[in-house]
Structure formats: structure tokens, C-alpha cells
Subunit: 168 residues, 2 copies
């Protein structure tokens, strides 16, 4: 710390132009901070489960998503996958190539349209996807302990309602 620049000593902004807030942001009750923050923390911890496993195989979250959806919809094309993940094909190419090279996914030329590359998981790929989903599913089950079927329906409905409309 060479200079103590930037570190206000104790005084409020002497010009009054951009004063500090010492009060908690409440949004006057118009902002749903409870859900905003609940989602942030829930997702942060939800994602941390598979990260540990991924570190072992040298893959990352991007690989996780790819291997997950290919397992959930075997035969999907590259275009399908791009639409699901909402990333560019160059971003996808990197991780998809690695998953193919390492034997987790295979491509098959489309039977009708041979330009397409239909994606299928290998046995190893299926096992990886399941191994990654397991701790996440356990976490979910734990969260639903002491909750009833109606509660679960509410959560499902909420999660669906948070999503953008499907474009078709």
C-alpha cells in the first residue's frame, strides 16, 4: 500500500455530489431481494457440487453442460445444443472437441441430412453425466426434506416461470 489514495478517512463527500449510503438498500419494498439473493446462493452452492468431480477429470463447467444435455437428448445436433446453451459455436467447439477426443461423446452424420452431426454419449459419457448429477440431486432431495408435494409443484412452477418464453 504505497499511497493511502482512495481510502476515505472518515468524512462524507465534501461536495455532496455523490454521497455515501450507510443504510441498507431496501428498494422501498419494490425489489424482491429475498428471492434474488436466495437464487444467487442456491445456485452458487448447487454448482459447487460437480466442480469437485470435474476437477478430477480435467473438465470444467462448460463440459458439464454439454455432457449433460447430450445425455438427456441423445441424437441432438450441434445446432440444438447451441440453442440450449445459448453460446457461440466457437465456444462450444472447444469443449465438444475435447469431450469427443476423450471418448465421452461421439458424432454421427445425420441419416437424413448428412450435414448434421448428431451427438451421442458413450458409456463413459453417460457415467460421467450421472456422477455429476448425483450430488446435485442429493442436494435437491435434502432441500425438499420436510416439504410436501404441493411445495415441490410450486418450486417447479416457479423455475419454469423464471425462464424466457421458448421460441419456436
Amino acid at each position: 500500500m504505497k499511497g493511502n489514495d482512495n481510502v476515505a478517512r472518515q468524512m462524507p463527500d465534501k461536495h455532496g455530489a455523490n454521497e455515501l449510503h450507510h443504510d441498507v438498500m431496501t428498494g422501498d419494498g419494490r425489489i424482491d431481494f429475498e428471492i434474488i439473493e436466495g437464487l444467487f446462493f442456491a445456485y452458487r452452492d448447487f454448482i459447487s457440487d460437480p466442480d469437485a468431480i470435474l476437477a478430477t477429470s480435467g473438465f470444467g463447467r462448460a463440459h458439464h453442460r454439454v455432457v449433460h444435455f447430450v445425455n438427456r437428448e441423445p441424437g441432438m445436433t450441434v445446432a440444438d445444443l447451441l440453442d440450449t446453451l445459448k453460446i457461440t459455436k466457437q465456444s462450444l467447439a472447444r469443449v465438444l472437441k475435447e469431450l469427443i477426443d476423450c471418448g465421452y461423446i461421439q458424432q454421427v452424420a445425420g441419416p437424413e441430412d448428412r450435414r448434421q452431426r448428431k451427438l451421442y454419449p458413450t458409456k463413459t459419457g453417460r457415467e460421467l453425466a450421472l456422477a455429476l448429477a448425483e450430488p446435485q440431486s442429493r442436494r435437491i432431495a435434502r432441500a425438499f426434506e420436510n416439504m410436501n408435494a404441493g411445495d415441490r409443484r410450486a418450486v417447479v412452477k416457479f423455475l419454469a416461470g423464471m425462464q424466457n418464453a421458448k421460441s419456436e
Copy 2:
């Protein structure tokens, strides 16, 4: 596409060592794919709202998180923030410095422990945090349309249950 390497023509793996799966991964009902995928899509769209606003100011998601929590807990220290975000101080330093330099956040030396840097949002910082929270809150409100108070309680409880236990 110089070579057609990697592109299986139509045949299953001739060695049987790592066969393809053409069936949808179900996990034999032991994996909660409905919630896993619901969370993925919900979160993906949830964070896309502020991204548009952030692009204008030249900030990213990392800045968003910082400015959000500093507004929600003015006077929090750098250590508090690190614990909330679960990132390294070097990662935080980059975005925090930018937010300070641009006048969204100020630091004040701790009154009791002067090693600490207590973080406060400026007026501009408060406005940014609110602007970012607004579309997210609207999305949440839309998701809760046609749901009752009990449904909301279920969602809150679920999100809390998904989080790791607080360490204290």
C-alpha cells in the same frame, strides 16, 4: 473440414468397449432432472436481464455482485465480501478497484480496527444496484403470478435448503 476423422458414419463402436447410448438418460428415477434443469434455465435467464444494463456501463457480472452486496450490507469489510462471493481477493481486487475508481463504491478505514476497509456505496452505486435488481425483480414477480403465499414460502424454503450451512 479437412478430414472426416471423428465423424462416425453409422456403425456402433466395433470393439464394444465404449458403446453409444441412444436412450435418454433417466437415472432410473433416482436423479431429479426436472429441478436440475429448471434451475439451469431459470438462472441462465435470470442473469441475462442485468447483463444488458451492465454492457452499457462497461461492467460485468462480477461488478454486479460486488455492487449488490455492498449496497445490501453497507460497511461490510473486504473479508466479508470475499466470504460472501467465495472468490479470491485477487479476483475481487480487480473489480472492486474499478468500482471505486469509477465512483460507485468508497472505502472507509475501520473505526475500531483501522486495518479494515469498510465498503459503502455512493449515490451512483446505489442507483446502479437498484437498476440491476429491477428487471430481476420483475421477472420474479412474473414467475409468482398466479401463485399464492404458500407457494412463495415453499420457494423461499427450497432456495434456503439448497445452500450450504453457514459456517460460524
